[in-house]
Symmetry: C2
Subunit: 710 residues, 2 copies
Amino acid sequence: MQWTKVLGLGLGAAALLGLGIILGHFAIPKKANSPAPSISAPQDLDLEILETVMGQLDAHRIRENLRELSREPHLASSPRDEDLVQLLLQRWKDPESGLDSAEAFTYEVLLSFPSQEQPNVVDIVGPTGDIIHSCHRTEENVTGEQGGPDVIQPYAAYAPSGNPQGLLVYANHGTEDDFKELQTQGIKLEGTIALTRYGGVGRGDKAVNAAKHGVAGVLVYTDPADINDGLSSPSETFPNSWYLPPSGVERGSYYKYFGDPLTPYLPAIPSSFRLDLANISGFPPIPTQPIGFQDARDLLCQVNVSVYNRLELRNSSNVLGIIRGAVEPDRYVLYGNHRDSWVHGAVDPSSGTAVLLELSRVLGTLLKKGTWRPRRSIVFASWGAEEFGLIGSTEFTEEFFNKLQERTVAYINVDIAVFANATLRVQGTPPVQSVVFSATKEIRSPGPGDLSIYDNWIRYFNRSSPVYGLVPSLGSLGAGSDYAPFIHFLGISSMDIAYTYDRSKTSARIYPTYHTAFDTFDYVDKFLDPGFSSHQAVARTAGSIILRLSDSFFLPLKVSDYSETLRSFLQAAQQDLGALLEQHSISLGPLVTAVEKFEAEAAALGQRISMLQKGSPDPLQVRMLNDQLMLLERSFLNPRAFPEERYYSHVLWAARTGSVATFPGLSNACSRANDTASGSEAWAEVQRQLSIVVTALEGAAATLRPVADL
Amino acid sequence: MQWTKVLGLGLGAAALLGLGIILGHFAIPKKANSPAPSISAPQDLDLEILETVMGQLDAHRIRENLRELSREPHLASSPRDEDLVQLLLQRWKDPESGLDSAEAFTYEVLLSFPSQEQPNVVDIVGPTGDIIHSCHRTEENVTGEQGGPDVIQPYAAYAPSGNPQGLLVYANHGTEDDFKELQTQGIKLEGTIALTRYGGVGRGDKAVNAAKHGVAGVLVYTDPADINDGLSSPSETFPNSWYLPPSGVERGSYYKYFGDPLTPYLPAIPSSFRLDLANISGFPPIPTQPIGFQDARDLLCQVNVSVYNRLELRNSSNVLGIIRGAVEPDRYVLYGNHRDSWVHGAVDPSSGTAVLLELSRVLGTLLKKGTWRPRRSIVFASWGAEEFGLIGSTEFTEEFFNKLQERTVAYINVDIAVFANATLRVQGTPPVQSVVFSATKEIRSPGPGDLSIYDNWIRYFNRSSPVYGLVPSLGSLGAGSDYAPFIHFLGISSMDIAYTYDRSKTSARIYPTYHTAFDTFDYVDKFLDPGFSSHQAVARTAGSIILRLSDSFFLPLKVSDYSETLRSFLQAAQQDLGALLEQHSISLGPLVTAVEKFEAEAAALGQRISMLQKGSPDPLQVRMLNDQLMLLERSFLNPRAFPEERYYSHVLWAARTGSVATFPGLSNACSRANDTASGSEAWAEVQRQLSIVVTALEGAAATLRPVADL
């Protein structure tokens, strides 16, 4: 509460001084030049430092970062991407504002690009084979930034090349159900070109579903109803508004899995074993091409799609930087953002990179001045090749699996920092909820009024918690950004932070220029976040979370907040699956017991921590408790639970295809068992999945008990 | 050195006082009643306490323990086994000499027993179907302990029931090659009964190999040449010598895997999912029965084997007891021995249980007196149903996977404590070598002369180490006892300790009465270890190792001792596979680099530790280093490396079937690729296995670097 006032002053100062350094305004009692605290001292979160950091995170600097970052397209592995690697290294090695050390880690990964010689084409063909109309090969050069050799042609990465020709069939989202519906209507799908719109299912799924019905090629367009709140004329779209121009085309990866496609579970270093191209799974089976809604509207009858995509082995780098912890250097607070974009990527991902650079500058400056060094290590990461399938982050987790799994306190992801100006949006696992709440309660929300970020957030996303009453609602983590390998493969408590929309004002599926050549600096500066106050809000939120995680004596991970999730999964299972399971003589009793045991142990641990916090506990004692908190999430991993789901090992957050919102393994197995005629084997899998969850919960509860209890 | 003298005194005292308590002789400066050291104090190994423990470990008490433990047969899940659970609980809860707490953990597991109504029979059948000769159904009641209802009939646990009849074929060890050889000789195997002898391959493999050739039933006998140094007459065998009487039959489990057969990867608690019997893999495919050599000699021509084994779900318990650590209670030194025997099991396993009880008594007494409490927790385990396939220990690791994997410093196994009187024998992973050496150098060897256990050991098992010169040679850990789930499934540094033979005096495959009704107290008392000094030597060795691991400020795990192993694996790969791999364009270069990197990082870590030991390091700093040491072994686990080898995840110690003594995955894949005609896929697997090892070594090296290095 206290420092929201200081923050007001900070904003004024920043405005006055522009790029000037505003340190003087936050005169804090300067400590001696050497901060080196006695190593066992119970160094704790320093609220003065926190205030200083919050005050110094500068919207204007974020804006300047973004201008530089988004000046040129920086597709993964492009020369400009490589330039940005150097920019990050230079910033992180700066003697005045850099980190303790920084390094680039390079992988050789399989990417997919359109041919430079033969652009992909989509033509309407007349009855005699003549071309009646050709779709745009590039987006219209509206602002001067949509032209030039570095703007990559819209394409579906990893779609195979080929030039199918056939009748056009509109297939809605291209879901399994959409194609079944067409079949029911008597429409012949064999040999056709399916026109689908983005949304509903993953990009690659559209081609997978289509191919099952004999479809020869797939087009994917962006529907103005989904992205532009129905608006579609040039005068209503960028650069006249934030909406997508008619020629805009969403690029994207159509790969089903994540990580380098050639080296699953192995780091893509040059010496690693690589699959034969013929043995890769997860690529779209048929030629696929995205188009704009202008072209989609014009498409008629017979269409020819020519895709000339090529697979290439390319070098792609992660850049890592570290601030070494003063007391527990072997505990890592890991903060990551990807660097590569499809074109200029001002929003995706450079809004996040601009925030990353500002955060590292402010913390690096305090570090280099000798004012501060965190208790635990802080690791900053700039991931490469995220757009092609979270490749850089995944390879990193493969290369350093044990080191990261044993030592990482939490992973904080900021990909797109700002989708829009309305509210914070956080996805994360339950143990991070409390630290996010603590941080956001203390930061003023941008925009009118005097709300905290927390109080503003709760207006947009909220839920009624049986424990806390009305609270902001955290979303759950899917696999949409670089947090995926950390939560699903390594079992590290993770979160993803952004500012986002007021849903009462737009129904846009995502910000309209997503993955197009219109995602530029001016787009952000004029429409998304003029003044960059939402960027600053994200920087402050992330900064406060980083400091709380790295500096607090007791780790601010509240494991008992998992109890609500488990209870809700259990209730869903009881209500929506209970009768069905009973019919098959499967009891939920052991699951009930396991959830109750977890709840009791988590609550008891919480009480022990509260007791200890009242005294002056020994650093080693606190370390032991912190290890229990840090490692809880690992207990939910079982690498043998879902052998066919690559990387997914977290038995609570693995992908759920079943309709019941319960434990994913149980939900999915029930859904399959109910569908299938085969019977007993499918029901045995339901029982196996239930036992896997019970074992994980019982095992998790055991890790929360006093450490020397049997 | 100092306390070998004290030890002499201790031995005298023990002899004088018999069962009396000899504490007074080791008057140590008694500390105040509450030992509670300041929790952060660098509590370190106390040599006085070590001396006290060594002196108090009493051969006579071990003998009395053994007499009680082996008084009755205590087959897994039998009433007497249950009595011993109570005995352990009573000892471990004793107010004068017990532990902090003790508890039984019970699982419901699938065991296999001969039918009580219909004994298994092996008959020689005449041409008209008449029975010419029947094999013994029980062993001869030579000492009065081979009769009675609790002496289970010799049988092959988990062999299916059935009564095949056919011509007898002698098949040596029953290896794959043995059956191929018979086929080459033109001997028809279809429908025959194979007579095989123990040894050469695992028990269950004999039936698996036989069934592949159409053999209908398998007999397995103990050959006097293998077990009795050729002697076979009653006058030359027990009770006149340690050799096996003609009627003796080795029982044993014929299950291929370990753990409860119905619940792989899940704890066998009542609620866990259980496989359908039809889906169990790893049981012998055809009826199998073990017999004695007396009967084996008499077998002729047509034989009928009737097996009536039955599978039963039974309760089997582990008993766990703990001494809570004073400073780092969340670090566990785990010491285990199984409790169940086939019959009286005086050697297997009660020699180990007798030692376990004496160790817990001595440490428990110091604890209860308030003289001592270890820095870390010590956990004692009495495993159930080991004989059926390491079932109790495996279920325990399944139930408490994360807790154990995160916190266990090392696992020490003593199964059979004493095979014979000649020398120590230790199997273990490299990080435990140094602590075993340190302990054994300070303990006097039993028997004549004034050698240390170490100096005696080196006379029997030694190797020339490039680093240390001539040293005792540690064997590697297979899957022969309860250490298997700890090393292979959890990646915990493990060791197995016993006293064993002078190989110049006997070629017995194992002690001759192994798994027979002749393995009794008198057998041990008269032939194996009169005076129980070898038992005492094992108790002292294990006791010293436990104290060193639980009390030393710096963990005595020397990770750089892995370098020798890696180097030797690498050299074997280069010498014996290099040319072959080159032919297939597979380079060992990355492996060379990875081994070198490991060596360098391990050496550097060793140096950092040495430096730190010279100062007065902070407990938290030491904890961080100790975590690196403790967790190194985990880096070698990859649960996706050998998907078909149940539980085996350790990429250095998984079962090796290939002939080249290198990394098992590489050795096995090369062997298969070389055998197979299929070609490219098999060679891709070689490359994959090589990358798995390289990734593990690089990952391991990364965990050894300074913790805040990128």
